[in-house]
């Protein structure tokens, strides 16, 4: 089924038009992705009118390039400023920013670039070569699988709590509680809305991420010595090419991250914002004596960065093969396909193989290009870490407010973001886990709807229902393993009790 003809479309993908579209998509994706509040779907939606008058393959290459680069661009601000540009890069703030604080910003950027580019490439090749069979797998995910995947994601809370499991779980519970706000899907009843219209659609993920991470970070930087900078360095050594020894050191973390991303991408609606946490928690559970998780462990960063770009290619599989968009970005790309008269589905592969395979090759090449363009952009951004805290702190606060408003056009969301910011600031001070709140908020609705849908489709007998479904059982086993590895005694941690008691972010 796949052979020389697939390879032949590679040359279409690098025609001058397609190449320029790719470059435009990559640059716009990187910039918009790096700005908290402006998300990849927004960048893609804004590019759709631009793409109207292009040939279908060129237009779609523009959009998928923007998608891949947007997910990666979000990592710059996450690593360098602890202000994640997208929801898929929130987990990278933990190890990435700690590395920046220890003067290792460049190392963090180059590992992130390697993990993202190679992750995107692998994901792109899986998309190119295995899309039709994997689409069948994505159909197997039903209510019980969604519910269990959400539970698996929630087990990550115990791992990312760093030291205080109780405080981590409390943070997760707060997130879960906040996720119940809004209109109940099953009855249409407004829950905890206090007659406020904004709360009817629930608490937005975006104001929460910007608040908990970026705004809180702006507050933290605004206190203390105004003239010191984030990295404590005076200049940046600039070496973007990863060393073989570095890659060798994180090889298994990369592979686990990529694998997590590829699998989570195939599941419609799971995506990067969940994959990164599952990959990260996996790393922490496999921690060895001497690893510095929570304090700038490069293995953790390799896994989160590998997973969020590992998602990108495979998340397009259900969209191309079945016409089922796995997320908002894929939905926008689906809309663009249709506007260009291309109907996704098995017919698309039969009738317009030149378009499909050209787009897929374009996606693969865009991932390589992304690495090169990133060298310039990341370098420019990395200089921000040399700026005095007194300038960077307020700047982050201003950008958080502008970004939230630009993203929602809703002042209430700006207030919500600020409330999360103040919450996040004090949580870090008292060793609670902002990541736990975020996980609860993201996974709460998936778990709740999955559970209620499962109760309906199983006619009220969920347990026997789960036991008849192989994928459900597999996820159940993963959950049990995850819990075991999270709570098993770790002898080496006893010696580090003093370090652990300190809030990890205040240790310098």
């Amino acid at each position: 089924m796949f052979g020389e003809d697939v390879l032949g479309y590679l040359f279409n993908a690098v025609s001058p038009d397609n190449f320029l579209a790719m470059l435009l998509g990559v640059v716009i994706g990187l910039v918009i992705g790096a700005i908290p509040g402006l998300s990849p779907p927004m960048a893609i939606a804004l590019l759709i009118p631009v793409s109207f008058n292009m040939a279908p393959d060129t237009a779609l290459i523009l959009l998928v390039s923007c998608f891949a680069a947007g997910i990666y661009g979000g990592s710059f601000s996450a690593i360098l400023l602890r202000a994640p540009g997208t929801s898929a890069s929130a987990a990278s703030t933990i190890e990435g920013y700690e590395m920046t604080k220890r003067g290792k910003a460049i190392q963090a950027i180059r590992i992130s670039t390697f993990a993202s580019v190679v992750g995107g490439l692998i994901s792109g090749f899986v998309l190119l070569l295995l899309a039709p069979p994997l689409a069948v797998v994505s159909l197997l995910f039903g209510p019980s699988e969604y519910f269990l995947v959400a539970i698996l994601g929630l087990t990550a809370i115990a791992s990312v709590a760093f030291g205080s499991v109780l405080k981590g779980l409390l943070s997760g519970l707060l997130g879960l509680f906040l996720s119940t706000f809004g209109i109940d899907a099953y009855s249409g009843f407004p829950r905890y809305t206090f007659d406020m219209i904004t709360l009817e659609s629930g608490i937005g993920i975006m104001p929460a991420i910007i608040g908990l991470f970026a705004f809180a970070q702006g507050m933290e930087l605004s206190e203390g010595e105004a003239k010191t900078n984030i990295s404590g360095e005076k200049s940046l050594s600039w070496n973007i090419w990863p060393r073989p020894s570095e890659i060798f050191y994180v090889r298994w973390s990369l592979i686990r991250g990529w694998a997590t991303g590829l699998v989570m991408g195939i599941i419609p609606a799971a995506g990067g914002s969940i994959a990164q946490w599952i990959a990260y928690a996996w790393e922490i559970r496999r921690a060895k004596p001497g690893d510095r998780f929570g304090k700038g462990e490069i293995k953790g960063l390799a896994a989160t960065e590998g997973s969020n770009n590992g998602v990108t290619g495979t998340s397009l599989i259900p969209m191309f093969v079945l016409g089922i968009p796995g997320g908002i970005s894929a939905a926008v790309i689906l809309g663009a396909l249709m506007i260009h008269g291309l109907q996704p589905g098995t017919q698309l592969f039969k009738n317009n193989p030149e378009v499909v395979y050209t787009i897929m090759w374009g996606f693969i090449i865009a991932n390589v290009m992304m690495g090169f363009v990133a060298v310039f952009l990341a370098r420019a951004m990395a200089y921000l870490t040399l700026f005095p805290r007194g300038i960077i702190g307020p700047l982050i606060i201003i950008f958080s407010i502008i970004g939230t408003y630009a993203g929602t056009n809703n002042v209430d969301d700006v207030w919500m973001m600020i409330a999360f910011g103040v919450l996040g600031y004090f949580m870090v001070k008292h060793n609670y886990s902002p990541a736990g709140v975020l996980l609860g908020l993201i996974l709460g609705p998936i778990a709740e709807n999955g559970l209620r849908d499962m109760l309906v489709v199983s006619y009220g007998s969920p347990v026997s229902f789960i036991l008849t479904r192989p994928i459900s059982i597999a996820i159940l086993v993963l959950i049990v393993l995850a819990l075991y590895f999270s709570f098993r005694p770790k002898p080496w941690e006893q010696t580090e009790t003093e370090d652990v008691k300190e809030p990890p972010r205040l240790d310098d």
Partner: protein, 343 residues
């Protein structure tokens, strides 16, 4: 202009006659200038960029349709049209603002209002103060009738009649995927449950069509409530098969699929619609400018072709015809009272 006036005032008090005259001249000049500007403004409306408010987030169906429409509307208005997403509260963040728009200040902004979503104002639990009259609807834009579909190859449901009989024979064993309570898809199912004796199904709710389609194609649910435009592609791809259309007449896209009424005798009509609204009390000539622009832009064959590819059926309505359709929707929602059904 106020600056020029205060200059003049100063001149009279402290700087003598010449300065006063100069100041007065400035006032007069400014006055002439603004009058000229006013005349020009009246001659050319709209005088600047126009905002097109989408009550849902970037990337949704409404957003896509309006981003597609904006360039054509801009061409007719002679001004740029910027799509603004004001998301939240299932559309109500934007709609509650629209009801309060000022006819003078908010004369460069067009709102889009979705049906039947806006009729959630009838749900007493939501405590809305708005009614349909709170909005200055000016034109209907698109109307996509609801359909019910099953998996291609599902032998149990060869027709709507077979589907209903099966549901009656197996109470609470048929599961349908639908969009949230109060949506067009839910309204169609709720109507059937209320008015077709003995028909009762279980429902699984989604906030997007991707989830619904995955559920029914993947065999997790038995049937799905959706819209003609969005679902026809899946039928062409032989993944889904429509068993009925919830409209007065058969859909030209699905000529062999019967209406719900043909099979059951019950007039079950449900659709997803989009309309345009302006500020209440906006000057009649301004409203006419917008209405003409919308009408001409929608008639642009190039635009119609793009919307056909996007499978969004355009339906232009204005004036009495528009309000008649709004009233019918309102009547239907009041008859179904979906908020009493799902407890």
């Amino acid at each position: 202009m106020s600056k020029a006036k205060s200059m003049g005032g100063k001149g009279r008090g402290g700087f003598g006659r010449r300065k006063f005259l100069a100041g007065a001249g400035a006032v007069a000049g400014a006055a002439t200038f603004t009058t000229a500007a006013r005349v020009a403004k009246a001659a050319k409306f709209p005088s600047g960029p126009v905002q097109l408010v989408v009550p849902f987030g970037t990337g949704g169906g409404s957003d896509r349709a309006m981003r597609l429409f904006a360039p054509y509307l801009a061409k007719e208005l002679g001004q740029p049209v910027n799509v603004i997403n004001i998301a939240g509260g299932g559309g109500w963040k934007a709609w509650s603002q629209m009801a309060q728009w000022d006819p003078e200040k908010d004369d460069h902004i067009i709102g889009t209002i979705n049906l039947p979503h806006v009729l959630s104002l009838l749900d007493p639990r939501m405590k809305r103060t708005e009614t349909l009259e709170s909005f200055n609807f000016i034109a209907w834009h698109s109307l996509d009738p609801c359909i019910w579909a099953v998996r291609e190859g599902d032998e149990r449901f060869q027709s709507l009649r077979a589907f209903i009989d099966h549901a009656k024979a197996n109470p609470n064993r048929i599961v349908m995927s639908t969009t949230a309570v109060g949506s067009d898809d839910h309204m169609g199912i709720a109507f059937a449950e209320k008015f077709v004796d003995g028909f009762k199904v279980q429902k699984v709710y989604a906030n997007n069509d991707g989830k619904k389609i995955q559920e029914v194609i993947g065999g997790h649910t038995d049937a799905v409530g959706g819209n003609v435009g969005y679902y026809v592609p899946y039928m062409l791809d032989r993944k889904l098969r429509a068993i009925c259309v919830l409209s007065a007449d058969r859909s030209p896209n699905l000529p062999t699929v019967p209406t719900f009424e043909e099979v059951t005798g019950k007039k079950n009509i449900s659709f997803a619609g989009r309309t345009f609204a302006l500020a209440n009390g906006i000057a009649a000539e301004k409203q006419a400018v917008y209405l003409n622009a919308i009408k001409t832009a929608m008639a642009n064959p190039e635009y119609a072709l793009k919307e056909a590819a996007n499978r969004n059926p355009l339906v232009f309505r204005e004036g009495d015809e528009l309000w008649k359709a709004l009233r019918e929707s309102e009547k239907l929602v009041n008859a179904v009272k979906f908020w009493e059904l799902e407890q």
